[in-house]
Amino acid sequence: MIDLTLLPDGGMSWLDASGPGSHLVVSTRVRLARNLSRHRFATRNDPAEREIILTEVQAAAAETPGLGRAVRFRVDRLELVDRQLLHERHLVSRELAAPEPGQRVRTGGGLLVQDQASVLINEEDHLRLQALRSGFALEETWAVVATLDAELGQRLAFAFHPEFGYLTSCPTNVGTGLRASVLVHLPGLVLTKEINKILQALTQVGLTFRGLYGEGSEVVGNLFQLSNQTTLGKSEHELLDQLGKLVRQVMEHEERARQILLRDATSILEDKVWRAYGLLRYARTLSFEETMNLLSGVRLGVGVGLIPNVGMYALNKLLVFTQQAHLAAAEGRNLTEDEIPVRRAAYVRRTLEEEVGRCGPSAGTPPT
């Protein structure tokens, strides 16, 4: 197995709940799609060309301040469990990680990680520059990626059209190549059944929503990834501004929904969040989906102040560390289908017990 301790903070600082609005927003991600003008795009190139692309990008990256110290991975040469691990950490896309057993891995796939920035090489586009930060921090996250883009752009000839802007393999990314997304927790809107109305309104103004793992992933645990739909015709700052304004409105609606629930359905809400806590604290087997749903309940309880002294950081970490490859990594071996729910429940219990140790006996104790 790969040693992820090579990465500063394991590439996980985005989980530490230190960013703005962390009680509602897990993380902010910004990515830019770039291609090299002299090479064919992903669907037309061959393994030899992808090797050249990988070499050129790595050489250029090594000269930049933003990626000069980057940890490098050859994704296509990693074992399945290691590719799954990087995917679960949001460092490698599903397309490049090929996380399903027996799935064909694209040759030439690479990953560079330094601090909060990373570059995927030979994904759908030759380069996907991305940054991930804790909380609701669009401008700060954009600044990381914009610097990477400028540094790499001085050394690599990017595909750029005078009218269309940056050219990408899929026309949906042409122009800025920018996709910004905010992972926001919206249990209040789900419980008050307002969510469909809100999501429908968002799609009408050029936004889209996805699940925890982006395109094609299901919404689990009431975590919605809100992002811009279009990439051309507006500048990067206009796209970020529009997304930011709408996310702020969604956050306000969520806060309002939580207040209504607290005021009008106090005992139902209390029961819901404490049941979730109780199950996570004492269950002996947990499926991934159940874990995500219960974590959503506890996160809501912590967010509205019903459950004291359980840190958002611990809850955020559970989102990632209760997944299959992370459980296997913690055990140091592959797990059987039957072992996974048992190990998951044990991991959750241990984490919540540690919170009690860290925060004192009042952690997870219902007020009398």
Partner: protein, 166 residues
């Protein structure tokens, strides 16, 4: 509700537009919606890309320019419009010039614009000459194809660009 455009047929799709902070909702019939490039969701793929790709070349007989264009390859990577229709992915930088007309139309549908207003590429290498603005001859060629494909909005834009150039 009657269609806001023709005022005759029944509206089947409502369209919300936000223009400089002003929100307007209009109702359109299937025909008017189609003319404006809006999918009504009846028998068409959900996404603009899916819908566009499915419609690419449909209704074009074997002798039309569009059908021929489906099989003509990009001079740089050899990808054809048919490849694009199947994969939804463009083959290389040069494809954006080789398939300028359909890709321009697609970009307009997907993003509502074809003009990039964000960061300009400021690399040491100048943008390849191959994708610099199309020559007047290319524009005339595109104009002819747009008219043949009855893409009149696009044709008008091409005509204006030609006029500017000449």
């Amino acid at each position: 509700m009657k269609c806001s455009n023709c005022g005759e047929r029944e509206g089947v799709v409502s369209l919300t537009q936000i223009v400089e902070g002003d929100v307007r909702t209009v109702s359109l019939c299937a025909l008017c919606a189609g003319e404006k490039g809006i999918e009504t969701g009846v028998g068409i793929a959900d996404t603009p890309l899916g819908g566009f790709l499915a419609a690419l070349g449909e209704g074009a007989g074997p002798d039309t320019a569009l059908a021929a264009a489906l099989e003509s390859g990009c001079p740089a990577c050899g990808a054809t419009l048919r490849d694009f229709r199947e994969s939804g992915r463009v083959g290389c930088t040069e494809c954006y010039r080789a398939f300028d007309v359909p890709l321009r139309e697609l970009l307009r549908r997907l993003h509502g614009s074809t003009h990039h207003t964000g960061r300009r590429y400021a690399g040491t290498a100048p943008p390849p000459a191959a994708i610099a603005d199309a020559s007047a001859r290319d524009l005339r060629d595109q104009l002819r194809r747009a008219i043949e494909a009855e893409q009149f909005e696009l044709a008008a834009e091409l005509r204006d660009r030609l006029r500017d150039r000449e």
